[in-house]
């Protein structure tokens, strides 16, 4: 069952074309790219500007850009590279310097090949497996269930939460959301 869902997201991605589907690509990826940029760029405004600049570039060259990889891979790498450019050239206030230097090192180490969203899911799964059990639960509950660290620490009920069940639920929900929103997008953007 999981396999089928993977296939479905992938076909949808393959069908999107920068020239024909600019609007849909923007709506589907803007928030994801912004959130990713915010993980490394400390100023939220600058992170958003980096993403807006990417879309401006895509818009201006939409007739000439040929994407040779998958769209996800292309946008992921574009976002990553633009963030690297920014971090290498922008200086921040003294008390944020150490943080920014470390964020740049982190991004420089982000070298896993991303061809599709399922690659990202696999990378997350593997990284979570490597965490100590307590952190694993905290991470999953905090990131995918929106729980506060305080609340999780108070729950103490850590035994039932295996990675597979927790991640499975979280990722299945994400995939279904994405699938559900595509017909809506077609309706909203009239294409």
């Amino acid at each position: 069952m999981l396999m089928e869902e993977h296939k479905e997201t992938r076909t949808v991605e393959a069908e999107l074309d920068l020239f024909r589907d600019f609007d849909r690509i923007y709506v589907l990826y803007f928030s994801r790219m912004r959130r990713f940029a915010e993980e490394y760029i400390l100023s939220r405004e600058d992170a958003e500007n980096v993403v807006q600049d990417i879309f401006t570039m895509l818009w201006e060259h939409r007739t000439s850009i040929i994407i040779r990889s998958s769209l996800t891979a292309y946008l992921f790498n574009l976002t990553k590279n633009r963030c690297l450019d920014y971090l290498r050239h922008q200086s921040v206030a003294e008390n944020y310097k150490k943080e920014q230097v470390l964020k740049l090192s982190a991004l420089e180490q982000l070298n896993e090949v991303v061809n599709s969203d399922s690659d990202v899911e696999r990378i997350i799964r593997e990284a979570i497996q490597r965490l100590p059990e307590k952190c694993r639960v905290i991470f999953i509950k905090n990131r995918f269930h929106g729980k506060k660290y305080r609340e999780i620490a108070a729950e103490l009920d850590l035994s039932e939460s295996t990675v597979e069940t927790q991640m499975g639920i979280a990722l299945k929900r994400l995939r279904e959301d994405l699938k559900d929103c595509l017909p809506l997008l077609v309706f909203l953007l009239g294409c």
């Binding site: 609007d23 923007y26 709506v27 589907l28 990826y29 803007f30 928030s31 994801r32 959130r35 990713f36 915010e38 993980e39 490394y40 939220r44 405004e45 958003e48 807006q52 879309f55 401006t56 818009w59 992921f76 008390n95 150490k98 943080e99 470390l102 964020k103 090192s105 982190a106 991004l107 180490q109 982000l110 969203d117 990202v120 899911e121 990378i123 997350i124 990284a127 979570i128 490597r130 965490l131 100590p132 952190c135 905290i138 991470f139 905090n142 990131r143 995918f144 506060k148 660290y149 305080r150 990722l171 994400l174 959301d177 994405l178 929103c181 809506l184 997008l185 909203l188």
Partner: protein, 321 residues
């Protein structure tokens, strides 16, 4: 894993702990490795789609398209103007009258609309730079007339006007017109709202009702004129911080709760109903990032004087009790 890293990743670290974490990371190689992979793990999870992506994406796309179609209009006009200029140049001697007539009829307007929660900057062809605050609308001719540079404003804007003694710059709003030669000033004039104010930083401006220009108010630097129950009131500016909106910050200096709420309603295009009138007497001072949104501002104010609020997304309304 170090608890500070866990707190950092969960986004619940205090400023003191944050400084502590980063000085620890400087000396502890293993901890640094752990931190870097935790940061990357969180970034990967940020890449996955989330619940509100669609609504944010659509809102941003609208603003993006508006911005880019405006640019295109300007470019189209430039091409048009270039053709017109060539035509005028050839016929200026012979068809002088005709040329004047065509010049008048080719005036076209550019319109710029800034959605709620956003801001924008535009440079006019005379070099004047205008910053527009959220929910604002500006209309200006593609090319100014020879005797007057006139723009129409519904909303809040800051003007840095390039000096031209022969050709005054006029900002027209629904409550008054403001005429200047070359200055820096802010105008707050949303159509249909009672509040109006203009604040002068440099130079001098003249404020008047277009039907009665003889009765006008002259302003000097660091003065502000407000419309209060139908009357003009002039006072001096205490701090230039209110202009921080240009940089994406909303600054409120000892401002009554009710006034702050009115501004938030405009800037974020949302109806806010205050059911507890006692709240209106409290005054607040603080700076907020525009991008963080109206709810983040309310949550911070809640910490100063406790109140409860609920948001109804369907009616685009916030109730405060």
């Amino acid at each position: 894993m170090n608890e500070l890293i866990v707190k950092y990743i969960a986004g619940e670290i205090s400023e003191k702990e944050r400084l502590q974490l980063f000085s620890l990371l400087e000396s502890d190689e293993d901890m640094r490795k752990e931190f870097l992979s935790a940061v990357n793990l969180r970034a990967y999870s940020s890449w996955l789609p989330a619940d509100d992506d669609l609504s944010e994406g659509i809102g941003k796309l609208m603003a993006f398209k508006k911005h880019h179609s405006n640019k295109h209009r300007v470019m189209r006009f430039m091409r048009y103007a270039a053709v017109a200029c060539v035509a005028i140049f050839c016929s200026v001697v012979i068809f002088h009258k005709f040329y004047v007539a065509t010049e008048d009829s080719t005036i076209s307007y550019e319109e710029l609309y800034v959605p709620s929660g956003q801001r924008a900057q535009v440079k006019l062809h005379d070099g004047t730079v205008i910053w527009l605050n959220a929910s604002s609308h500006l209309r200006y001719p593609s090319r100014f007339a020879k005797s007057e540079r006139k723009v129409e404003l519904d909303g809040e804007a800051f003007f840095d006007v390039v000096k031209n003694k022969e050709c005054p710059f006029v900002v027209s709003t629904d409550k008054a017109d403001i005429k200047v030669l070359g200055t820096k000033f802010n105008v707050f004039a949303y159509k249909g709202r009672q509040e109006f104010s203009t604040s002068l930083l440099e130079g001098s401006v003249k404020l008047y009702n277009p039907s009665d220009e003889a009765h006008s108010i002259y302003m000097k630097p660091n003065e502000e004129v407000e419309l209060h129950e139908g009357r003009w009131i002039k006072h001096s500016l205490s701090s230039p911080d209110f202009l921080l909106w240009k940089d994406g910050l909303y600054s409120f200096d000892d401002m009554p709760f009710g006034e702050i709420i009115k501004k938030l309603e405009i800037y974020y295009d949302i109806k806010i109903m205050v059911k507890n009138p006692r709240l209106n007497v409290y005054k607040f001072s603080g700076k907020f990032r525009q991008i963080d949104g109206v709810e983040s501002i309310l949550r911070i104010m809640q910490k100063v004087h406790p109140f409860a609020y609920s948001k109804d997304d369907k009616l685009n309304r916030i109730m405060i009790e």
